[in-house]
Symmetry: C2
């Protein structure tokens, strides 16, 4: 059996000799779209049991069965970093979720800020984007996409011990270039990316006064939210996460 | 005159009291799409004279005239970093150009690699994306988008003294996490992002043997080319560029 090129995230337990039934959508994708047949090798992961090389033993139109042969990766845990962002236009929001999964965020939290227009998100659709990105980038886990929450409420209930990297575009264009992660401690973190219209003065004042918040400047230019998400996760992963 | 929210890249010289004629497309954008009228403030830059607050003195359907009042930013130069990337699907290629401009690349060079399918690019369309990104992010310059060139040829004619940050996805998933920029010297650089199918073995062998190339790993996951472009530019700007 050759090494699988296709990776699939499943719910089912994985282990040596374990059979894994496919649902209709998965069967359609694997056998219809990707033209896989019995005997083909597929890599499976479920967020708990690592990555397994599995073989297609039954390929049907409405379902199928795979059998796990050998473990190809141990279960990896994400570095403990959340990404908080204000939903923007649909395509850019999809991108942020995709990028956050690729960059190894553990949780993705859409937040309502004073200047956020979004009243609701399609959580299921965003979660599907996170699954797809995890399949593509070689992850063994999928970050959870949380429901849309008011930033105020999230900050009021902030978990003990979790630090916040607050990407403050009002710091851009100042002489005092700073990277707030220099010397910052490891441990649980979250990254907050501002909405396209920026934070309100009230939000900014509150964020700067929080004892767990670290203001970080993402360079001298104003970045779009999707660019800022990748840049901030890069700085964090390189300084404190699984790139370091 | 209030501070302009709209920024426009023009060809015309800028300076105190300088009149700036608008062409038809610019007039359509400013007065048609953005509904600006005589008296409105617009920020102008041309890549040479910094950013100027200008006032609309004539708003027509086929043209218009602005007058520069005060300089609001001195001319900034980009840090001397090029982005080399292999064109991929249209939307992702557009994104890479947008992101490169936002992240402050000085030049953007689409390259043909062994596994690149693209035979040609729409240079004018990509250049327009770079202009739009520069207008949006507050830059006073626009990176030039070069014509599609074979990577082999570019490396054969490589400019004296320019270093190459080679983002090698074959380094991903190895234990030896490394950041090839630690201790790297300042000066002219280029960043090379691989195509979605990766580099060929021949290309990888050649790239690793080049005396001016520094291999850099972008974390343990396989990044899409547009994600990799932002991540690599973030590492470079933070270590050697205008974020440091």
């Amino acid at each position: 059996m050759e090494t699988a090129k296709i990776r699939l995230c499943v719910e089912h337990p994985l282990g040596e000799g374990q059979t894994v039934p496919l649902d209709r959508d998965q069967a359609h994708y694997l056998f219809g779209v990707m033209r896989q047949v019995a005997g083909a090798a597929i890599a499976l992961f479920n967020g708990r049991d690592g990555e397994w090389q599995a073989e297609v033993v039954d390929a049907g139109k409405r379902g199928g069965i795979l059998v796990c042969r050998t473990q190809s990766k141990p279960q990896g845990g994400p570095a403990d970093v959340w990404l908080l962002f204000a939903p923007i236009k649909k395509a850019r929001t999809d991108f942020i979720v995709e990028k956050a999964a690729e960059m190894g965020a553990a949780r993705i939290l859409p937040v309502q800020t004073d200047f956020t227009n979004a009243e609701r998100i399609r959580r299921d659709r965003l979660q599907a984007h996170a699954v797809e990105a995890a399949e593509q980038c070689g992850n063994t886990y999928v970050p959870e996409v949380a429901d849309l929450t008011k930033l105020d409420r999230l900050l009021a209930d902030w978990p003990e011990g979790r630090r916040l990297m607050f990407c403050d575009e009002a710091l851009a264009d100042t002489d005092a270039a700073q990277n707030g992660l220099t010397g910052a401690p490891r441990g649980p973190w979250a990254i907050l990316i501002g909405p396209e219209g920026g934070f309100s003065e009230a939000e900014r004042t509150r964020l700067r006064s929080l004892p767990f918040a670290h203001s970080v400047q993402l360079g001298p230019r104003i970045l779009r939210a999707d660019t800022a998400a990748v840049a901030a996760l890069t700085l964090w992963q390189a300084a404190l996460g699984d790139w370091s």
